[in-house]
Amino acid sequence: MKDVFGLIYTNDESDVRLRDLTRSRSIAAMPIGGRYRVIDMLLSNMVHSGITNVGLITQRNYHALMDHLESGKAWDLNRKRDGLFILPPYVTRGNTGSYTGLLDAIRANLSYVRRASQRYALITDSSTVFNITYDDMLRQHLETGADITILYNVPAESELAADAERTHLKLDEEGRVVDIEVSPHLNTYPAVSMDVYIMDKALLTYLVEVSAAHYHSDFVRDVLIQQMKNLKIYGYRYDGYVKRIESVEAYRQLNMDLLDESIRTPLLYKPNPVYTKVKDEVPARYEAGAKVTNTLVADGCIIEGTVENSILFRGVRVGKGAVVKDCILMQGVEVQDGAQLSYVISDKDAFIKRDRRIVGQESYPIVIEKNAVI
């Protein structure tokens, strides 16, 4: 994979289906699994594939990402040659500071693409979580002589949310993409794109320039669908765990799935551990009287109460007599003595006062915004 560079596009649009969770951050910066962010998975996938040149296209609110990524040290991407390049938006004659789509974003950052010494580009979106190494996908790309290879999976019926924006693919026996439908009314094609593409850098540059000349900005609509006949587009199937973070329910499901060892281990640490920023927190502390079951607990937590079926991020405090059930509590949340929470997703540093009761439902968890005091 020495001849591949990575390009990650972080979409910044606040998605109504994610409610307050994306109000101040992109999906890429969303905290998951107790100590990670979505971007950790995307970067670790690339690093474990041997990619050492990664461009990260950010938009308006990229502070959370910059803060998290620093120099790329935690991903081994602080390199003399190549490494991690954070590509923030900038305003020029042709740029407005936010992008209308993937093509527009790459157009604005063509100078980075041109400078990359690698021949192939691996482009990913940033709202899907999975643990993969791309070696085999690249091998298939070269063997089939494809112009573009798209990573896809075949989600279970239950995973197909009605209102999700997804790209469905029809493949022939050889794996070539012969039809594409975006958010179809009926799910005629079971294969769904994971928004990861491999293509030659020269082709990418060409497509971006031609599209820009035609005021085109959407990669799926304006390139893949338009050029399906002219380009050899192949699919590469991934069979591991995939979760698209497209709603609060999906976000919750992803976290809850991590309580299952058979999902947690391959997704987070074996064989390819997900790297993340180290915070040097103290081990978690269970006081006498703590009752914790079926829960993922990060370092720095102090627990005196009861916690069930939950995910506790770093530095969460659960007071005496407090009961936390089926919750996701992000970094620094404090639940005071006697408070009761169920089906709650709380953003960072929220403060739940003594004896408060907050009850959501599995089908509609309550989302508490960052720094809220309740």
Partner: protein, 402 residues
């Protein structure tokens, strides 16, 4: 480029009283407190005190320490000028020797210190658990214009005869030093932390080396000589938690100190964080049916059994039906189904087989590193079992079976 202060951390000690724990690693590399090693404390103290040149003197079983310290990155000691350096003994012309004593270890690295031309040299040992602002000690040294400042700790009177005792006058100046006195006149024990003026120290070390009768030790030679010459020696009183974890019992105790409410030794101070090299592991998982209380648990652990008043280190596992009480379970150790651990230290990557019993009410039992105890094993209180002892045991059992 000049630096104000260079720290020299003596990390060559074997720690032989730690038995099987230090058979294959030096004492400063011994794991502590769930995710730390002993050396993390002096290194973090240096980093938090703004000391950015730290020479780490290694000698005994240095592999683990060398790879642990690496370039010093976890302690923010990867610096353009300075940073953390591992300094093993080396060949010089025809005369390469091991570090003969603490003073000799520094003597052999005079050239290292010379590079930075510091005003002060801070000598530390890698054997203790404590948090200390060395910059405050250096400020006192400066203010009192001392020739040498020695950190002292008030130990209980009945234990004073185990330490090097500093007798001081009313101004805090040291007037006498007694190594392990039978009848101590004071309970100010030396913590093995010294601040010297570099120019003077350099001279003392060179002269001490030339003296063939010297055992080249700070406590035995350098300090007594400075005192006899009437140098201005100042005692720096340290208050706070300080623990020598030189024995199995004291190592176990220091770990248990972390479990008190509030902890006898507070790690939860974000202004004085203790840094360590973090393994890449997910948050720990407490299974349905598990019971965890009064304990510390860290990343990568999996608990399905019962854990009471114990510390689980990174990646430790406690299977269903296993019971862990008042114990220290180190990195990657596995306590299998039905095993019972009480008042014990289970070392790195050891496996306690199903239905085994380790420890009990009495002295601390130890399972050595990488030791895989088969099912129904018994390790009695005070007993230490490592791979070697286990192999003998198994051979004996086989013979008896014949």
């Amino acid at each position: 480029m000049g630096k104000k202060c260079v720290a020299m951390l003596l990390a060559g000690g074997q720690g032989s009283r730690l038995g099987v724990l230090t058979k294959n690693m030096a004492k400063p590399a011994v794991p502590f407190g769930g995710k730390y090693r002993i050396i993390d404390f002096p290194l973090s103290n240096c980093s938090n005190s703004g000391i950015d040149v730290v020479g780490v003197l290694t000698q005994y079983q240095p592999l683990e320490l060398n790879s642990y310290i690496g370039n010093g990155m976890p302690w923010d000691l990867d610096r353009l000028t300075g940073g953390a350096y591992v300094l093993p003994p080396y060949q010089k012309g025809k005369s390469g020797t091991w570090y003969k004593g603490t003073a000799n270890a520094i003597y052999q690295n005079l050239a290292f210190i010379e590079q930075y031309d510091p005003k002060y040299v801070l000598v530390l040992s890698g054997d203790h658990i404590y948090k200390m602002d060395y910059s405050d000690m250096i400020a006192v040294h400066e203010k009192k214009q001392a020739d040498c400042t020695i950190a002292v700790y008030s130990v209980p009177w009945n234990e004073a005869s185990r330490f090097g005792i500093m007798n001081t006058d009313e101004n805090g100046n040291i007037v006498e030093f007694e190594e392990k006195p039978a009848e101590p006149k004071s309970n100010n024990a030396s913590m093995g932390i010294y601040v010297f003026n570099w120019k003077d120290l350099r001279q003392y070390l060179i002269e001490d080396e030339a003296n063939l009768e010297s055992s080249n030790d700070f406590g035995k030679n350098i300090i007594p000589r400075m005192l006899s010459e009437g140098k201005h020696m100042v005692a720096y009183n340290f208050e706070g938690y300080w623990k020598d974890v030189g024995t199995i019992e004291s190592l176990w105790e220091a770990n248990m100190d972390l479990l008190q409410t509030p902890p006898a030794f507070n790690l939860y101070d974000s202004s004085w964080r203790i840094y360590s090299r973090n393994p890449v592991l997910p948050p720990h998982y407490i299974a349905g049916g598990a019971e965890v209380s009064g304990s510390m648990v860290t990343e990568g652990c999996m608990v399905a059994g019962k854990v009471e008043h114990s510390i689980l280190f990174s990646g430790a596992q406690v299977e269903e039906g296993a019971v862990v009480e008042n114990s220290v379970v180190m990195n990657g150790a596995v306590i299998c189904k039905g095993a019972r651990i009480r008042r014990a230290i289970v070392s790195e990557n050891a496996v306690v087989g199903p239905d085994s019993v380790v420890g009990g009410n009495g002295r601390i039992a130890v399972v050595g590193p990488e030791t895989k105890l088969p099912e129904y094993s018994v390790v009695k209180p005070g007993e230490q079992v490592d791979t070697e002892v286990l192999a003998k045991r198994l051979a004996k059992a086989e013979e008896e079976a014949k």
